[in-house]
């Protein structure tokens, strides 16, 4: 039962509170990603779990045991650092063996462990090299290898891919996912990159300003963001958000009316924020939908699809459209069609998601 349980965790530096009492349950073998903008408290939370930061108040429980005051080495966690934290004076094998030697593991056992892990990570040819002689991706693998050899109950990742270039990052991302599938160790992963969060996570924890905004599977968060922050944080490009007013059948945005399933006269007149995902609109009406007149600013081709930068009144918005190998047909677009069942609504004041008809 190697779960990690946080309840009411608070971190304060003197009078300045940076984490405001968060609750989180991480199940055994689960891969949880903490995501949020920089300064949101995600790294601090991770470091509290690792034991590198003291917990001001609240309970941290790993494996059913409260470990707030347990030394890092006795928490049985392993951490992968953003800048890898490799010892420049040790070669790859010694870097990986460092933690094991500290724990006085017998030499022969260390060797077999290292060999196994090096094999898994494809590091066998590099065991004698120093970190300075490795590529970024190889260093990243060594950093992970150093965590893996420990066979910890929990892996902690602190933005491990942010120092890599885009291509390598995609590749390593997949490798981490495969490793997790193979080893099945509970993992907590911190990133500011929502793509990494979406692709890696069993569950995503979106954090903002020291609080958890929403916890859920990637698709839950994508489809039903709990508030405008989550809505704008996940998705690429993010969800378009426009001020509007409820009517009996939908909402008015500027001088257009958008039909929304479940709208009723009960809510009419309420100020809301209307959320439309860029990928959800179509160029022609399909099923129940409403037309939104737009003036097109710019078309950015991405290959199979293109981004349409457009305006409706004061609202700037971005939509995605299929190209089918050609963008000439997109240049004259004057309106998009919004499916009525995919429109999201948020309270204009609190930013919280509104559920109609419930």
């Amino acid at each position: 039962m190697s779960g990690v349980n946080l309840s009411g965790i608070v971190k304060a530096y003197g009078a300045l509170q940076v984490v405001h009492g968060i609750d989180l349950d991480v199940q055994e073998k689960e891969f949880v990603v903490l995501v949020g903008p920089s300064g949101c408290g995600k790294s601090t939370t991770l470091r509290m779990i690792a034991g590198l930061e003291e917990i001001t108040s609240g309970d941290l429980i790993i494996d059913g045991r409260r470990i707030n005051r347990v030394a890092p080495k006795d928490r049985d966690v392993a951490m992968v650092f953003q800048n890898y934290a490799l010892y420049p004076h040790l070669n790859v094998a010694d870097n990986m063996a460092f933690g094991l030697r500290i724990r006085r593991m017998p030499k022969a056992e260390i060797k077999t462990t290292i060999d196994d892990v090096a094999e898994i990570l494809g590091l066998t040819p590099y065991l004698d090299r120093r970190p300075a002689d490795l590529s970024g991706g190889q260093r990243q693998r060594v950093a992970m290898g150093r965590a893996i050899v420990r066979h910890p109950k929990v892996f902690l990742f602190d933005e491990p891919l942010s120092n890599l270039d885009a291509k390598l990052r995609t590749q390593m991302r997949a490798e981490i996912k495969r490793l997790h599938n193979r080893l099945g160790v509970t993992s907590i992963y911190v990133t500011h990159d929502q793509v990494e969060a979406m692709t890696l996570a069993d569950r995503i924890v979106v954090m903002n300003d020291g609080n958890i905004e929403q916890v859920g599977t990637p698709m839950e968060l994508f489809n039903n963001p709990a508030n405008t922050f989550v809505a704008s944080f996940l998705g690429s490009p993010p969800m378009n958000q426009m001020k509007g007013t409820m009517t009996a059948t939908g909402a008015t945005v500027g001088d257009a009316e958008i039909l929304i399933d479940g709208a009723s006269a009960a809510n009419a007149g309420r100020d809301v924020i209307v959320g439309i995902r860029p990928e959800h609109v179509t160029l022609t009406a399909q099923g129940p939908s409403s037309a939104l007149p737009i003036s097109l600013d710019l078309v950015e081709p991405l290959g199979s699809e293109a981004l349409l930068h457009a305006r409706h009144g004061d609202n700037a918005m971005v939509f995605k459209a299929d190209t089918n190998g050609d963008i000439s047909h997109l240049s004259g677009v004057g309106e998009v069609h919004v499916p009525s069942h995919l429109v999201k609504l948020f309270d204009a004041e609190t930013g919280q998601a509104l559920t109609l008809g419930a």
Partner: protein, 320 residues
């Protein structure tokens, strides 16, 4: 010295242009960098290379009146004078011995001090302690010698007073040849260890903090972190400082020796520079002094080259 200039970044390998044309283009494009280099070059020429011309007096019967150029050559005579003199040989041995002790005890001292400072967590306590150990560096040798003479005085000295509490007889330390080296080396450490620790503290500050965090998670204690992270991380700095130090082996702090030694302690205290001072400069034998200086420089050069080569071979760290 001057850093590598980024001239290689651009290449105009048209092939048709002659070397001169390319050189001209090169200077026209990079002249600011050469301009910045110029003061250093001038400094070197004026203060280091031009005076080297005067080194020839080591091989001449030098008269200030006749000048460097017009004094007659005497070949190796001054060197023969030096090496046929037992007290010079003794001075060379003493220099090397004192330097060796300096290296053995004086070199690790600032490193140990820096490591200790690094372990102090209380910021203002740390600052105070650092200031106190830096202070002796700024005191002139004359004052230092006065302090040492007083501290080791057989009648009013604090050392003998403490020894007195334990029923030991007082010792007139500064006239005992056996005590000169410990006192001299100890004084040097007291005076310079604090200031010398700055460079190592800077090196320690440059160690990536996540190395320590990673080690903490791996379960290392502070002692293990010091041995397995801090020291290996600052090893290049240590080696560079060691090479520089070896280059100064022949330069035992001359003023302090002059101030502390006595005829009674010449046996262990007389170093090449004090010998030259007594035999050469006091009686105006500049040519002999130059010969001794040249010998010093030669020994230092050989030592530095050796140390540098060894360091490069075994640790991949070197001055050049």
């Amino acid at each position: 010295m001057a850093k590598d200039t980024p001239i290689t970044a651009k290449s105009d390998s048209t092939g048709d242009d002659g070397r001169l044309v390319r050189l001209y283009d090169h200077f026209r494009r990079e002249w600011q960098i050469y301009l910045m280099l110029l003061p250093t070059i001038i400094w070197f020429i004026v203060f280091l290379y031009k005076p080297m011309y005067g080194l020839q007096i080591a091989f001449k019967d030098y008269s200030i009146f006749k000048g460097v150029a017009n004094s007659p050559w005497v070949g190796w005579e001054h060197f023969q004078t030096l090496f046929s003199n037992d007290s010079f040989i003794r001075a060379v041995k003493n220099t090397i011995t004192i330097s060796f002790y300096n290296l053995l005890f004086g070199f690790p001292a600032p490193i140990i001090l820096a490591l200790m400072f690094n372990e102090i967590l209380h910021a203002s306590y740390k600052r105070t302690a650092q200031t106190i150990v830096y202070l002796p560096h700024f005191i002139s040798s004359v004052i230092i010698a006065g302090i040492v003479i007083t501290a080791f005085s057989p009648t009013v000295g604090v050392i003998n007073a403490v020894m007195g509490w334990f029923g030991l007889d007082s010792i007139y330390f500064l006239t005992q040849p056996d005590w000169f080296r410990p006192i001299f080396v100890g004084t040097g450490i007291w005076q310079e260890a604090g200031f010398g620790s700055i460079v190592f503290l800077a090196a320690i500050a440059g160690v990536n903090p996540s190395l320590y965090e990673s080690a903490v998670v791996d379960g290392a204690n502070r002692w293990q972190m010091m041995w397995k992270i801090t020291i290996p991380s600052i090893l290049p700095t240590i080696l560079i400082m060691l090479i520089i130090r070896i280059g100064n082996v022949m330069e035992v702090s001359f003023e302090l020796v002059i101030l502390l030694y006595q005829p009674a302690t010449y046996e262990t205290a007389d170093v090449v520079n004090t010998w030259v001072y007594r035999q050469g400069l006091q009686s105006g034998q500049y040519d002999l002094a130059a010969a001794a200086g040249l010998f010093n420089a030669f020994v230092a050069f050989v030592l530095v080259m050796t140390a540098n080569t060894l360091s490069r071979r075994y640790s991949r760290t070197s001055l050049w």
